[in-house]
């Protein structure tokens, strides 16, 4: 049975039995994978502490042959456990939101080393408390871009006309902003979104702002962008994410 070795970030776990857990990792080489860690809850497990939620580890697993592609985790070695993320709830909530998004927006065995690096970068920023308010928005933008769900935020998604208004309406169904003419009859619109906040979000997603720590963003713009993202993510995933509740 072939063994695979890769860098991984633990994005979810569920108890499987008294002593075993199923972990979901986002890995550099294989994308999202699920693996059964037998006996990991035992007192003397060699993997204990190496596969904590949100930790960055090297994992070794045997490829699962079943239809649900559940692998068997055979070894884990933690590189980074991000202890400071645990010290403040807003950091912890943001990191969990990123993990839940990756778990829901990526497919099994569909690797994206770029997304892996973005997630790792976000965890490191949250751990060091650098660019905290904006780092999550930037990550979400890059995730939407890489997964093909990035909305059209500069031009009307329906007629292509460039937006020149200060506030715009957004259609989750069409995946972009809509001008006043095209919005007639469109249901589930998000109204009065500030165009400058959407423009900033678009630039974050396209990595046009390299020094995140230098980007200044007002709490009201963060709040409005957050509300828009929560509604858009709920629409494209067809479910409410648990972690969207307490994001600042």
């Amino acid at each position: 049975m072939p063994y695979e070795r890769t860098d991984a970030i633990t994005i979810r776990y569920t108890d499987f039995s008294e002593t075993s857990r199923i972990f979901t990792f986002y890995t550099r080489r294989f994308g999202r994978v699920s693996a059964l860690a037998k006996g990991v809850k035992r007192k003397y497990s060699k993997m204990i502490g190496h596969v904590d939620l949100l930790s960055h580890s090297e994992i070794i697993f045997t490829s699962g042959l079943s239809r649900d592609r559940l692998h068997i985790l055979t070894e884990a070695n933690a590189y980074e456990t991000f202890p400071n993320i645990r010290k403040q709830l807003p950091r912890f909530y943001a990191a969990c939101h990123a993990a839940e998004l990756v778990n829901n927006m990526t497919s099994l065995d569909d690797p994206s080393p770029e997304l892996f690096d973005q997630l790792l970068d976000l965890l490191r920023r949250r751990d060091r408390n650098v660019g905290t308010a904006i780092a999550l928005l930037a990550f979400e933008g890059q995730l939407l871009l890489l997964s093909g769900f990035m909305p059209q935020l500069s031009n009307c998604v329906s007629c292509g006309k460039k937006n020149r208004q200060k506030t715009v309406a957004f259609s989750p169904r069409l995946g972009g902003i809509v001008c006043s003419k095209c919005s007639t009859g469109e249901a589930e619109l998000i109204h009065d979104l500030p165009a400058d906040a959407l423009s900033l979000f678009e630039r974050l997603a396209q990595k046009k702002l390299t020094k995140l720590s230098r980007v200044k963003i007002s709490p009201s713009v963060t709040h409005q962008t957050r509300a828009f993202l929560n509604r858009y993510e709920t629409y494209i995933l067809a479910k409410k994410l648990h972690t969207a509740k307490h994001l600042g």
Partner: protein, 201 residues
């Protein structure tokens, strides 16, 4: 196609709602119940009814008990100035069985787990703050599980109790007795180094 009898299906559906029980295990349990004698089945039904009728949450520590206050809170021989904060009732039982702790407890009813939709407002943290405000408690020992979610919960509890001047500590952590250093995670070893103690010569 031959199916299961409706009564068996209905019982299996109820078993499948329990934690860790899948549909096959649920069906196996349902057939097991069917195979019981009438007396054994009646005892099982009675046991479930009794649990629901008699057990309740202790109004002081949130433990599950048949009396209010629970036997631990009602035990006058315990140290009433120290409270050990645990995630679940099972953790309280484990700590008490060690025999090295004779104070009181507070059961949070879980830990902060955003990925499962569990937030501070879902835990019994306010009840703990109310107990501490009353003034008798001098020390809080936080005994949440030593992982990401347990540590986040411990930090929040410590923050909430900071204004009240009580001593707040967490359980020592490190390499388990009988474990091996080479397999310990970095944070486990870091905890062991930080919490080292002097050995008398």
């Amino acid at each position: 196609m031959v199916g299961h009898p409706a009564s068996i299906e209905a019982l299996a559906t109820e078993f499948a709602k329990m934690p860790g029980i899948g549909s096959r295990t649920a069906m196996r349990l349902a057939y097991y119940v069917q195979s019981l004698t009438s007396e054994d089945a009646a005892r099982l039904v009675d046991a479930i009814r009794t649990v629901k009728a008699k057990s309740r949450q202790c109004s002081i520590c949130c433990n599950i008990s048949e009396t209010d206050p629970c036997p631990v809170c009602g035990d006058a021989s315990r140290d009433r100035t120290t409270v050990c904060v645990v995630e679940r009732v099972q953790d309280m039982t484990a700590i008490d069985s060690s025999g090295s702790y004779r104070g009181l407890y507070h059961v949070l009813g879980g830990r902060i787990a955003p990925l499962d939709g569990v937030y501070p407002e879902n835990l019994n943290i306010d009840a703990l703050v109310t107990r501490v405000k009353e003034g008798e408690i001098r020390e809080i020992i936080i005994a949440t599980n030593p992982d990401t979610e347990g540590d986040s919960t411990a930090n929040l509890v410590a923050d909430r109790l900071a204004p009240f001047g009580v001593t707040v500590s967490v359980l020592a952590r490190g390499v388990p007795a009988g474990g091996q250093l080479e397999h310990a995670a970095k944070n486990t070893l870091a905890g062991a180094i930080e919490g080292r103690r002097t050995v008398k010569g």
